[in-house]
Symmetry: D2
């Protein structure tokens, strides 16, 4: 679950939301990770009991890099992984290869986002741990990629698999109901990225719980 | 003091270094602020007792902005201000105006870095709280701008003052001895930015203490 | 007149449009410059008889810079100046200072675009030849800045003049009728930037001619 | 041959150098293309008689994109293709996919540069016409990649071929002697990218001629 810079998932509210995700995760026995803002990583790690990701990482080593996100700093704050190349924070192709490598060297899981099936296949060459395909035109719309563009997902899975047998494949954009989750798994992905639908939900516990159940049924 | 992404100032070592800065600040009665990495802001705030700055801020409001640094998140983590446009993280001119405004709206102090006297005069038009002029060719060299280019500093002070009467003026780049600090104040600045000289010092407490004394003598 | 990447102002159609501008300029005795795409600069210079600007310049010297726009190359192709920092191609603040200097060293006129009055005042510190204020939210709308936001223009003129006595001030965004031109000059600017209104006009000759007359009356 | 922004390959000197390349190409019956600066594309097309590439293309369609490089403009100026993602002008991964598609739609040949074998394999997923692997640390050194890092080339060829059967593979960086060309072809590439060695040569005609012979012998 990507917290983005939503005010409903900033500071104390990030901690609260992550706690809920942690409870659902333990109750249902399903794997949920959260990606809060950089400043909230440590407090969320300390309270949620679930895997915490960064929303970005820079391909830099320790040194004179003001304002950058260092793998070692993520690691020391308790993060277990990081998103990269989200449609709201796209990076150069050479930076993706380098950042995946920096993450690997710090034992961080790399989850590379891709806006198309072509970009998904391309980043598969860098052998990250996970790839999430998210058509940007659906992000935040409530129209799930798994419903609106099922062929995009199946095509993405196929193209990634022709390059890389091991990488885990997720999908995102518009995923907002338990049914969207079910459909995503049916189409061959192994998980979903959610954001605004849960973050801005009036009852995130209930929605997350239902999504978790849909996911369990789908495996 | 800018912690950059130095490993000597990451995670627990960021907390330790900030504690030392806090002690020096209280012992000598001199104002010292630290700018750790994003993930270290909250723990440094909780342990150091001195003002904590971010190394960067993005000109975005709460919403769908993955991987960005939000003013409200800095505020909620206890930061009191932020660097912006450091030579290692330069931004577009329109972003500086917007980010200074976002900082102001969240009661965060904005410290805009400038690589030349011209850029210093330009950013003065945005009325940030502080401007730090740092010629990038001296950063990390140990050759202090206040010694190597004194005329750059006096010229910068003059140019900024022709545009803006109130902004506080700092200087940085290569500042590594108490004498460098004295010279910087003599030339009309109101403080210094230090980084590698202290962060990588074998005895940061002693060096910071001596710099603090030099600063006190200079006021 | 900024040709952008409009197809109506690309290749042969750029040459045709610039010829029309040249004729209007000579007939009415008014100064009109055109800014075609990089590849069209030379043919437009050779046929239009009016000043030709580039749409962008990079702050690089001759050397190993693939895909960059070099001052010397603009000069040798016959351009007399360049736009910089247009809202559709914003650059870092340090690059503006450098590029204005590179342009000056090659005897090219620099026309720096600014999205707000604050940015206008800031870039005035770099002493370019001209500053054009263009609120991006009005670009391409047909709603002229000189009508919709007259106070923005008067405020911009005032702020720029407090920093720089000599720079010429233009305004743009939404300028689409002769009356918009008149208003812009009344408000204290010395010219206008036009684009889509003329480029996409069914009768650019007539529209440009009427705008020229409005401008003449306004001086 | 990439002209970059070398002064020896700007304006009239670009035309002269391209003429020499054209003569060598016809005399030896070998394919040589040149990539001059944007402003020099049209005059080089008109005088050299050989294929002319742009050094960059932007993934934009005709419209309101100031300072961008439009496929249609390249086409209308007579270019037959374009470089993309050169180490001196790296772009975001999503832009590579889009720009290759824009080039294809305008019948332009896309030559995507890659700094490593991993990036080469990644861009192969976008099915450009050609991929050139160029380790940036060797560019401009005179130390040929084909000699210093032969295993990089063979590995790149292998990795690209596992993804894409058809794309043509070139190599570059430090290629400065006929022998460097021979080695590159022996290692399985189908051509080379040269720049400073020829552009800054005291006798480009002789050097190009000898490289052409080496290439002929290598096929």
């Amino acid at each position: 679950m990507n917290f983005k810079t939503y005010i409903e998932a900033t500071g104390k509210r990030a901690v609260e939301l992550a706690k809920i995700a942690g409870e659902i995760s333990r109750e249902r026995g399903i794997s949920i990770a959260v990606a809060p803002q950089f400043t909230d990583i440590k407090p969320v790690v300390e309270t949620s009991g679930i895997p915490v990701f960064s929303q970005h990482i820079d391909p830099v080593k320790p040194g004179a890099y003001t304002g950058h996100v260092l793998a070692e700093a993520l690691k020391s704050s308790g993060a277990v992984g990081t998103l990269l190349n989200h449609s709201e924070r796209r990076v150069k192709i050479s930076e993706i290869e380098e950042a995946v490598e920096f993450a690997r060297n710090s034992d961080l899981i790399s989850l590379v986002c891709a806006n198309t099936s072509g970009v998904s296949a391309a980043v598969a060459a860098f052998d990250p741990h996970m790839i999430a395909v998210e058509p940007p035109e659906l992000i935040g719309t409530g129209i799930a990629v798994s419903k609106a563009k099922p062929e995009l997902i199946t095509n993405t899975v196929k193209r990634i698999r022709s390059v890389n047998r091991n990488v885990r494949i997720l999908c995102g954009a518009g995923v907002s109901t338990p049914d969207d989750v079910s459909r995503a798994l049916e189409l061959g992905t192994e998980g979903v990225l959610v954001s605004s639908s849960v973050v801005k939900s009036t009852d995130p516990r209930r929605l997350l719980g239902e999504m978790a159940e849909a996911a369990l049924a789908g495996f």
